[in-house]
């Protein structure tokens, strides 16, 4: 999952980014400027945008309006010091999906991010089950056929993303977009490397029944689409 934080207090953006990366292993980009933030948010690569309202350049509400006018479906969590009911109403009515006021609790913010992303992928259940794999997205734990499996951060990130879209063909471009932030350097075959790692753990054997390759299109976790 990849999150964009548009927040002009650099330190706050950095703190949130750090927690999201460490605790839920999201790929995180930050923008401290309104114009730049809108441009990034419009790219469609993000699973969630955390949006401050008072920004230099373009204001947060204008970003929100522009995003929704352009048809963006990305969930937007408004994170601001403005806390009157009128502000909250306005933020939500302009297309915001959630509203949290500063100062906030980091754990609560992370839980809200998870909930918004679950909803966006139409997976209301925080536990994802595909084949014998059970992913607890809240606790970040994975079991396979009842046994706990310890995954590296990138492996988990990839598995969670594929599980969120289980039963669909997920292109390599999508995976690259949603799992890596701007600063990470991705080697051309890195996705194949992680797919083969996941296969070793969950889908060994010459014939893959859980993680399928659709030639020229991408990968499917779980049942192949009809």
């Amino acid at each position: 999952m990849r999150v964009l934080i548009i927040e002009d207090e650099e330190r706050l953006a950095r703190n949130i980014a750090r927690v999201l990366a460490e605790e839920v292993s999201y790929a995180v980009d930050t923008s401290t400027d309104g114009e730049d933030g809108l441009h990034m948010a419009g790219s469609g690569a993000y699973d969630l945008v955390i949006l401050d309202l008072l920004l230099p350049g373009l204001g947060g509400l204008d970003i929100l309006k522009a995003l929704r006018a352009a048809g963006s479906r990305t969930p937007v969590l408004i994170l601001t010091a403005r806390d009157t009911p009128a502000d909250i109403r306005q933020g939500l009515d302009l297309g915001g999906d959630d509203y949290l006021t500063k100062p906030f609790d980091m754990g609560e913010l992370v839980a809200r991010c998870r909930a918004l992303i679950r909803r966006a992928y139409d997976r209301p259940n925080p536990a994802l089950t595909v084949g014998g794999i059970r992913i607890n997205t809240a606790a970040h734990s994975v079991t396979f056929k009842g046994k706990t499996v310890l995954l590296g951060a990138m492996e988990y990130r990839m598995l969670e993303y594929l599980a969120m879209r289980a039963g669909e063909v997920v292109s390599k471009a999508d995976i690259e977009e949603h799992l890596y932030d701007f600063n990470s350097e991705t080697a051309s075959n890195v996705i194949e490397v992680y797919v083969s790692l996941l296969r070793k753990r969950f889908d060994p054997g010459p014939r893959h029944r859980l993680i399928h390759t659709v030639r020229g299109q991408g990968y499917v976790l779980g049942e192949l689409p009809a």
């Binding site: 207090e9 330190r11 927690v19 806390d83 100062p103």
Partner: protein, 360 residues
């Protein structure tokens, strides 16, 4: 004793006038009738007949007079009540006004005679002024809460992020230092808010005394040497002659302290902050604090004294200012019967000039 209601006063007046007119008319008519009757019945025997006729006439006059006075008074009461209706309506509307709908109530739709227009217009004007003050207060509260929440959010997120797992001592140190910086920012802001609240609370000058302005400036310059040195800057005070103003020494120190702070922070590193004192017209003293910093954009100049205004949000954030220093300075200058002006030009830097009346 309570004054008589307007309606009774006017009806009483009208009744009195009617009664007086009727009495005068009666006397004149009585005489004329008597004369003409006497002329008609020019016989002494007819005297009794005349007396009888006159009695009849007098009785009719009296009844007519009393009736007209009562009717006149009644009509006057009704007219007055009708004329005063707009006052009742206005009062009813005013009763419905609270701090919430103050701004939307303009009283323009009230139909009132031209005599009452100025009264209603004055009321509407007062409502508008009250609304402006309330709006400013609301804005101030919103800004103050935003300014306090931001460092609070920073401090909290820093500590929570550090706390999520075990980290190196260096990382903990960084988190602590950053949090201390946030606390300092909040402390400074709370101090400023307190100063403003105290200034707003009291009218005039508490503990006014003769203050040696040159002494205040010299002392402030000495207090700020270390702060200036951190940026490699220096402070030069040109206030050799003694000059006395009437005022509160603490407040004056705050005023010029804010200006010198600004000059150090916004001036170039390694620059010179110049504080000069000179005589001005009308027995005033002018103190100018000058720095050679980047010019303030012309469109920002009129807003610099507004509370929480920042010409450049990102730069001020780095310096930790909340945009209250100059509004405090202006408030204090005004309390001392003076004023404050700011001029900023490219190449010439920024000068803030405070004019204060000399002590008599």
């Amino acid at each position: 004793m309570r004054p008589l209601p307007l309606k009774w006063r006017i009806s009483l007046l009208v009744a009195l006038v009617i009664a007086a007119v009727i009495v005068v008319i009666s006397i004149v008519a009585y005489h004329d009738l008597r004369e003409s009757l006497k002329a008609t019945f020019a016989v002494a025997a007819a005297d009794r007949h005349v007396e009888h006729e006159m009695h009849e006439f007098l009785r009719t006059l009296l009844m007519l007079g009393v009736g007209m006075t009562i009717i006149g008074g009644g009509v006057a009461t009704i007219i007055v009540l009708w004329a005063l209706r707009p006052i009742g309506k206005t009062a009813a509307r005013l009763r419905g006004i609270t701090h919430r709908n103050l701004g939307s109530e303009r009283l323009e739709d009230l139909r009132a005679p031209s005599e009452l227009r100025p009264f209603i217009a004055a009321l509407a004007n007062m409502l508008e002024r009250l609304d402006r003050v309330l709006e400013q207060q609301r804005q101030f509260t919103a800004d103050a809460s935003h300014e306090l929440r931001t460092p609070l959010a920073l401090a909290k997120s820093t500590l929570q992020a550090a706390r999520t797992r075990d980290r190196d001592p260096a990382e903990y140190r960084q988190a602590i230092d950053e949090t201390l910086g946030d606390l300092e920012r909040m402390q400074r802001l709370m101090g400023q808010l307190l100063v403003l609240a105290r200034l707003d609370e009291v009218n005039g000058l508490p503990d006014a005394a003769d203050v040696s302005l040159d002494g205040v400036l010299q002392r402030l310059a000495a207090d700020h040497v270390a702060e200036a040195a951190q940026r490699g800057s220096q402070i030069v005070v040109d206030a050799a002659r003694p000059a006395t103003v009437r005022g509160n020494e603490g407040q004056l120190g705050q005023l010029f302290g804010n200006l010198i702070d600004n000059a150090i922070v916004h001036g170039p590193a390694g620059g010179t902050v110049r504080v000069t004192m000179s005589d001005d017209a009308d027995g005033h003293l002018a103190v100018c604090v000058h720095d050679a910093g980047v010019a303030i954009p012309a469109e920002s100049l009129p807003h610099l004294f507004d509370r929480f205004y920042r010409a450049d949000p990102s730069r001020s954030r780095a310096t930790g200012g909340a945009g209250l220093g100059l509004s405090i300075a202006r408030e204090i200058a005004r309390r001392h019967g003076g004023d404050i002006k700011i001029a900023s030009l490219p190449d010439a830097g920024t000068s803030v000039t405070v004019r204060l009346p000399r002590a008599l």
